[in-house]
């Protein structure tokens, strides 16, 4: 029997308890501080306001739209990496990692230029005759999703590349020889293989998008209100920390539920296949 590895995980456990579990417990505890002592008052106030549901749904929708967008963009790039030669792979890795070395704030402000009235999108649409006057995608959900897709794209490409690097191209060749068409190969051979990578990417992208305060605030403007802005306001403007904690717990739970749902769907027998 192998020796127990428990002593080796003690440092990690200590760090996790000290810097993750304890602050989380404090946050949850704080959310029950009401005007009359410990109560569910803050949760009552949050769920008693229909506007907050609207904000929660907005936040979840933004996360899901970005997950869909990054999947549509990321899977072909990962497959190109898989089929590519050494040089192509290096270029893809380089182009994927380089944006990650710049701050989210810098990338967000770059998107202001891209989405603006005088930006390349507006110029291109005018050059193609699709619009007669400059258009701005600033303060729109479409503009925000476009920016979030670019910012979070590496988060889905890297797990996919990690999975595909350990997978032989011969699987798809075998399916081709057996007479399967491209769509069938994609859905019955490739998808089950890359699903763990996709799931990891979805979780990262969804969590990153739904908590991306700066990009939401700058690109989305004030017309598109998301949960992080509510939390920031409760802390920084209204100084109501218990309420901010309650909203943060709600965000944590709702995000967690969606991620569990994603995990359950991705583990469906029809998807992963069964021998």
């Amino acid at each position: 029997m192998k020796a127990s590895g428990f002593p080796y995980v003690i440092p990690m456990l200590v760090l996790s308890v000290a810097f993750f579990a304890t602050p989380l417990a404090v946050l949850i505890g704080y959310s029950f501080f009401g005007s009359q002592g410990a109560s569910l008052e803050n949760y009552g106030r949050f769920f008693g306001d229909a506007f907050n549901f609207h904000v929660l749904i907005n936040t979840a929708r933004l996360g899901l739209e970005t997950v869909i967008g990054t999947t549509i963009l990321g899977v072909p790039i990962a497959l190109f990496y898989w089929h590519g030669g050494r040089n192509a792979r290096q270029v893809i890795i380089f182009l994927t990692l380089i944006p990650m070395l710049t701050s989210n704030v810098v990338r967000t402000f770059a998107w202001i230029v891209i989405l603006g009235r005088q930006g390349p999108i507006s110029e291109a649409l005018m050059a193609l005759g699709l619009t007669g006057s400059p258009i701005s995608l600033m303060f729109t959900e479409l503009g925000l999703v476009m920016a979030m897709c670019q910012i979070d794209l590496p988060l889905i490409i890297l797990p996919l590349i990690a999975i595909l690097s350990r997978t032989s191209v011969q699987f798809t060749e075998a399916a081709q020889v057996s007479g399967a068409g491209p769509w069938r190969i994609l859905l019955t051979v490739l998808l089950p293989m890359i699903l763990p990578g996709l799931l990891a990417g979805w979780i990262l992208v969804f969590a990153s998008t739904s908590s991306s305060f700066v990009t939401q605030a700058v690109i989305g403007g004030a017309r598109n209100v998301y949960v992080p802005q509510l939390i920031y306001r409760e802390v920084g403007t209204l100084f109501d920390w218990p309420m901010a904690s309650a909203i943060a717990v709600v965000l944590l739970l709702s995000t967690g539920l969606l991620l569990v749902a994603m995990a359950m769907i991705s583990r469906h027998r029809r998807l992963i296949g069964h021998a």
Partner: protein, 346 residues
Amino acid sequence: MTDLQITRRHFGMLAAGAAAAATLPFAARAAGETAIAATFPGNWEDGYRTVLTPLVKEAGYDLTIAPALAQDQLAKIMASPGNPPYDTLLMSPGQMAVAIDNDLIEKIDPSKLKNWDKLDASFQGEYGPTVTIEVNGIAYNPDLVPRPKGYRDLFENPAYKGLVSWTGFDSNTAVMAYTEIAKIYGSGPEDMDAVFKLFKDHPEQLRGVVDSTNHQMTLFQQGEIAVFMCSTGNVARLKSLGLKAEYVAPETGSPAAPVNIHLTKGAKNVDAAYAYMDAAISKAAQDKLKMPPTEMFPTNKDVELTPGIEAYVTRDQLSSMVYPDWAMINKHRSDWIRQFDELVAG
């Protein structure tokens, strides 16, 4: 690819280095002669760091300028009761009221300030000196829109349609503008329903609502917006960047807010904090800070106004500025924020 090799000795040295680096901020503070001064980001931060640091050093102390918006200063002070991250705060009366209510700042001892007598009585607050007056109004791009006369123009003149940007009630600049608009379209500064109705009747005005004046400055630079509610300092900053920006004092009067330095309760470097306060109200400092790009209105009586500042406001006009009732604003603020959010989100 080669595996990363690391010996125990190297690991130990790395760990020791990391531990030493982690203690640096504490080591810096342990010197005990450095004032940690919270200052607004941007122009204020640059100006104060450049101008005040040498003056405080002359007095025998060091100065660390920590950029933070007034609301963030309050949030950080509240987050660490008894161990404040700043020795001094910089804020307007709206936040000062919150700080006093929460016992975060203390009354100062004017005898420790050599330049105290150089201030008018109205600038000698018991909770700290007024270092400048922020005069608010309307910023516009003369290449894109005509000069507005006041707030009414922005809603009623089609030339501004889709080119005006507003912020929510989190921003002091915005709140001051909205209380003025409430006087024009409603029964008084508290009648915010009149303002909300005005926005409902002009939905195009809601398109350019953003989170903060800082975002508006960025959008103004990009030509995305042509008008926003501003302080004279915002316009001075835009001009210093070579941008076409002009300031308009609304015909109904310019809302104004004194900006004060406060001594944080439990400040660890009190003497250094007083040295910093004294430097901020000195003639030497205000003579420099009145120049572009900061163009701060000097509160020291010995400092002459520049033509640039006099174009915005003169000393005689200070009394005719509009000074909002911050107690009333703070009472309603959370409700206004929520109502405006719902209105903007549709």
